[in-house]
Symmetry: C2
Subunit: 407 residues, 2 copies
């Protein structure tokens, strides 16, 4: 019997998940979406209906910080799969709701504590992995970080392990957004979360240990398919914190592309203290968190979608050896902002993050990934996931000794 | 009988005024200082006492936005001269207090309405000059803009008119601060007022009409005494709005020096909307004025003084002709931040702004400038003012056909 699905969250990524779910409704039972602000969930359902999908899709109000409320909703709608694309602060309560009810859990980003920026590595060890035993005991499938990065890039690493190398020496994940939104400055997702990613220590796994750098300290020019030459900077990112556990002997680094303009704006705001999450007091005595004011003056990321043009290229450069013979491959996807908007009403950054958890949900529904325990994406078979993503709009390409070709 | 003096305001400029008043106490009767926060006025008196001055100096609490309260205090202490170095928003109420009591009025900057940025030129026509008739009728001496710029630079223009040219063709006022405070970024006076100066239209008087430019649109490299080659930008400033009335046939421009770093920070903040005086609402529903948050995160300008090093150069390049023979002169002052701090506990920007109104007050007390009506500085004899400033710590130098020499 097909499983009912509950989507938690109603932002740009949730919109993509909802559309992709509706496009693949035959894989599932009823569809549900829950958000603190139910009207945002209703708007997403309306945009799905506008595309002509006549699936069973229901909106619910939900405080996802309350695990009992999450469990109650799961039971009420008999959800077999929960896709958590809510704020980064609700992972642990939503996961608890799944453990308490037996529903499968899928998310796309690591848990964060609102009061802390950049905790001790590996980040998964601080929250998610502490619930591993509980998941296994309850027989609950919990797939962590099943977006694009983390997510698809973890599967790329696993593909290299499975099909190319018997020894993996380095995994360099490169994320380039060569698109343009036409605004003087904007962040592609919630400015608060975006800037929090870059104000802390940059952790990478090199020579078998955690290395620490500052943001924008280490830059490298990459020459990538379609997007061409781009400078990317060593950055802290979720997937480094799980891949480093599976590939202990390999260097694992994450590189994010930034233009000089982004770096300049970021540097000015950070040096002035305007990215601080600690309140300051104005001369008039008002207590205010500077970062929240910066968020208030910046464009709403969802508003960028209609004008967004250009492409993203995200991939893994994996170096290793097979039978002692060294080699390297680049496994990647190119996505287009305009195509994403035309298909699901979101820009490419939301599209690449929102399609993969739907692929994961299909694999859980089919049983392929229904592992009855907690897993990061690289712990699961990569090929079925990547092949499915090809049919869902995120095709994989590989540059290896034979050239640049589809997976 | 010597006149009692009331200083209004207790910021960096007021501190300089207080010290210079105390140094020249024999010119006046009792000294008084009033501020909304009386403790700030008391601190200034304490710093004067620390320098060993045993003058009669009293602090008073005052809401300078209330003209009746201003008049009452003037009557209470029998003040004959009021030096207004409070916020730019109190000029009109303080002036009214003087008109109502007969006290002489001296200020250093133009009146501003907190809700408006950059009004129609000439700016003096919007507020101050509307009270000309009232001053004349009451026989009240009101000297407008008697700081350095406006103020001393207006007297430089008048000196050129009096002693060098029978036809003035252009007045270019150049203000270069080549000092360094050692902070990543700071403004030299209240950030709110500092940024307001540069967010509006840049008005200059050229070819007999008001010309409009944007800030940082027109830059020019200057090669000045002591501070050397410096880039300054056409900027809006008070003195252009009075000099253009006296020198209708001359071009009148104001140039302020800015480094690339200041311009970059300013540009980022302005383009993001963080210099706006209009409130925004955070995601949490808090209404807040972005500019006030920027002010809250920036260093307190007064805190810069101990570490401030280097020099300022402010002067007028005046071109004209005498008996049909064209010529040009540069009349200027060089001030030193460290010397200013050692003498009066303030940095050079406050020093150059705070010494001139004391010179003006001495000339009013002596009768030389006690004109019993409203006047801008260029309407008054320049030489006694400039000679007095030489003895008070702001010597004038002139570069003319004979070379670079003291006035």
């Amino acid at each position: 019997m097909p499983k009912n699905v509950l989507i938690i969250g109603a932002g740009g990524v949730a919109q993509v998940v909802a559309h992709k779910m509706a496009q693949n409704a035959s894989e599932f039972g009823q569809l549900h979406i829950a958000s603190r602000t139910v009207s945002k969930a209703e708007q997403i359902i309306a945009s799905v209906r506008d595309k002509g999908h006549s699936v069973s899709f229901t909106a619910h109000p939900l405080d996802a910080m309350d695990s009992a409320a999450v469990a109650a909703l799961i039971r009420q709608i008999d959800a077999g799969i929960v896709i958590n694309v809510g704020s980064a602060f609700v992972n642990m309560t939503v996961l608890q709701g799944c453990i308490d009810t037996g529903a499968a859990y899928i998310d796309t980003a690591i848990h964060e504590d609102p009061g802390k920026v950049c905790e001790t590595p590996p980040w998964y060890g601080n929250y998610e992995w502490k619930r591993r035993e509980a998941c296994e005991k309850a027989g609950v499938t919990a797939i962590l970080g099943a977006g694009f990065d983390p997510g698809v890039v973890n599967a790329y690493a696993r593909l290299a392990e499975d099909e190319y190398f018997d020894k993996v020496e380095s995994i360099d994940i490169v994320d380039i957004n060569a698109g343009s939104h036409g605004r003087w400055f904007a962040t592609n997702f919630d400015p608060e979360i975006n800037f929090r990613e870059f104000t802390g220590t940059v952790y990478s796994w090199q020579k078998g240990a955690w290395q620490e750098n500052r943001m924008f300290e280490v830059g490298r020019e990459w020459d990538l398919p379609v997007v061409g030459k781009q400078t990317a900077y060593l950055s802290g990112h979720d997937e480094v914190h799980s891949l480093s556990a599976r590939y202990k002997d390999a260097d694992v680094r994450f590189w994010m592309g930034f233009g000089a303009h982004y770096i300049n704006v970021f540097t000015v705001l950070q040096n002035l203290g305007l990215l601080s999450e600690k309140p300051v007091k104005t001369a008039e005595g008002l207590e205010v968190v500077p970062l929240k004011v910066v968020k208030a003056v910046l464009p709403d990321p969802a508003s960028l979608a209609p004008d967004y043009q250009g492409k993203t290229c995200i991939g893994d450069l994996v170096k290793g050896s097979l039978n002692g013979k060294p080699g390297e491959i680049f496994i990647y996807n190119v996505a287009d902002h305009k195509d994403a908007y035309n298909e699901v009403g979101s820009q490419g950054i939301s599209y690449t993050a929102g399609v993969p958890p739907v692929a994961a949900a299909i694999l859980v529904a089919r049983g392929t990934w229904d592992v009855k325990k907690m897993a990061n994406v690289e712990d699961l078979p990569a090929r079925p996931f990547l092949e499915l993503l090809g049919t869902l709009g995120l095709p994989t390409r590989v540059i290896d000794a034979t050239g640049d070709h589809p997976l």
